[in-house]
């Protein structure tokens, strides 16, 4: 580990989000250092792979507990896709599943004390959201050609309102990657900051007054675990909805 100028567990609630380079590396003039963020990405990758491969190692007819969990995650995403996209979306199931599992695991790993939350960085969530946005847009144009632009012209709108509506639709379409990424990033960052702040209150108020923030922290951790799951779900569902827009032009 490289020595850092900042104490990783400093009192500043934002210190937990600092990127620390464990193995500084450079390739072709680009900084590719192995950081704490990289470490947790690799942990998430390994955890998902281990979870799905170990639990399905002996794929029994009557599933074991672990196998049942793996199947549950599969069917959860599969049902979500069936409900929002329909049969046409089956080709993109592996992508949405990967996206969901990656966000879910990085969110959940962030709940482990002293760990790092990969999704609390706007650049990561924005990269994922852009991947979705660009992919969906390209898919839409491949599927419908220039006709995909009809997405911005809703049916049954009075001609007078049309210029206004089209502008609004275009803005809303272009803001998709921003809203998608900021939603996840802001939720993660805010939750972890709150936890850190209240953790600091517990220490500050000590044995006498620290019980109230402690109780709040316990409750808040429960909420944060819910948020971690919910944000992964929301990310995946919105991806499905965008996919649906691209596949089935209204």
């Amino acid at each position: 580990m490289s020595t850092e100028t900042h104490d990783p567990f400093a009192h500043s609630p934002m210190a937990q989000f600092e990127i620390r380079r464990f193995i500084p590396m450079e390739a072709g003039g680009i900084d590719v250092s192995f950081t704490n963020s990289s470490l947790f990405m690799v942990i998430a990758l390994s955890a998902i792979t281990l979870f799905l491969s170990l639990s399905m190692r002996r794929s029994a007819l009557v599933p074991s507990r672990w196998q049942s969990m793996a199947e549950l995650s599969y069917e959860f995403v599969a049902n979500m896709m069936r409900d929002t996209v329909g049969a046409a979306g089956q080709k993109f199931f592996p992508f949405v599943f990967t996206l969901f599992m990656f966000v879910l695991f990085t969110n959940m790993l962030g709940m482990v004390p002293y760990s790092f939350t990969v999704t609390s960085h706007i650049i990561v969530t924005f990269a994922l959201a852009s991947l979705v946005f660009i992919g969906v847009t390209v898919l839409g144009f491949i599927k419908h050609g220039v006709g995909y632009l009809k997405l911005f012209v809703p049916h049954g709108v009075p001609a007078v309102l049309l210029p206004l509506i089209v502008v609004i639709e275009v803005i809303s379409y272009l803001s998709r990657p921003i809203s998608l990424s900021v939603r996840l990033f802001a939720n993660m960052m805010a939750g972890h900051t709150m936890l850190k702040v209240f953790g600091g209150f517990i220490v500050m108020l000590g044995f006498l007054g620290g019980w109230l923030p402690l109780a709040f922290s316990v409750a808040f951790i429960g909420l944060e675990i819910l948020v971690a799951f919910l944000q992964a779900y929301v990310f995946a569902v919105l991806t499905c909805i965008y996919l649906n827009d691209a596949l089935h032009l209204h």
Partner: protein, 164 residues
């Protein structure tokens, strides 16, 4: 704010690309097909089990139907045999009764005939005895045999009156 340190963007993006691509490849090539196969196999097994259960049920129903049909047939044939026997017995009895009646009436006619013959013979004997007796009585009384014609007329008259 550590999120806005631009120098940290590159390593995050590079590692995100590496890990996400790897994860996608593992999911798409290995993990998801395996789960899909398992789920499909389970669905197949359940479906085939249900099919088998349905066919067994159908077999059971068929067996029950066959059994009921056999039972009904047996009952019908038993019925037929009973009716046939009853009819045969009735016919036999009727026939015997008729034969008996016939022979009885024949015998009665014969008996009547015999009685009539016997009666005629007896009447003839009685007449002869009466004629001889009357001839003997007249001989004893008068000392002479009566004229046979007068005697016969007298006996005829007596028999005729005696008959009434």
């Amino acid at each position: 704010m550590p999120q806005l340190v631009f120098a940290d963007f590159a390593p995050q993006l590079v590692w995100l690309a590496i890990t996400f691509t790897l994860l996608y490849l593992i999911m798409a090539r290995v993990a998801l097909p395996r789960i899909a196969t398992t789920l499909e196999r389970r669905r197949d097994v359940i479906a085939s089990d249900l099919d088998q259960a349905a066919s067994l049920k159908r077999q059971g129903e068929d067996a029950l139907k066959a059994y009921e049909a056999a039972l009904a047939e047996a009952r019908a044939s038993a019925h037929a045999i009973a009716a046939e026997t009853r009819q045969r017995l009735t016919e036999e009895a009727d026939r015997e009764k008729a034969a008996m009646q016939e022979s009885t009436s024949k015998r009665a006619v014969e008996a009547e005939l015999r009685i009539a013959t016997a009666k005629t013979a007896a009447m003839a004997n009685v007449r002869q005895i009466a004629a001889e007796t009357a001839s003997a009585i007249v001989d004893k009384l008068l000392g002479a045999r009566p004229d046979s014609a007068a005697l016969n007329a007298a006996i005829d008259a007596a028999v005729t009156t005696g008959k009434d």
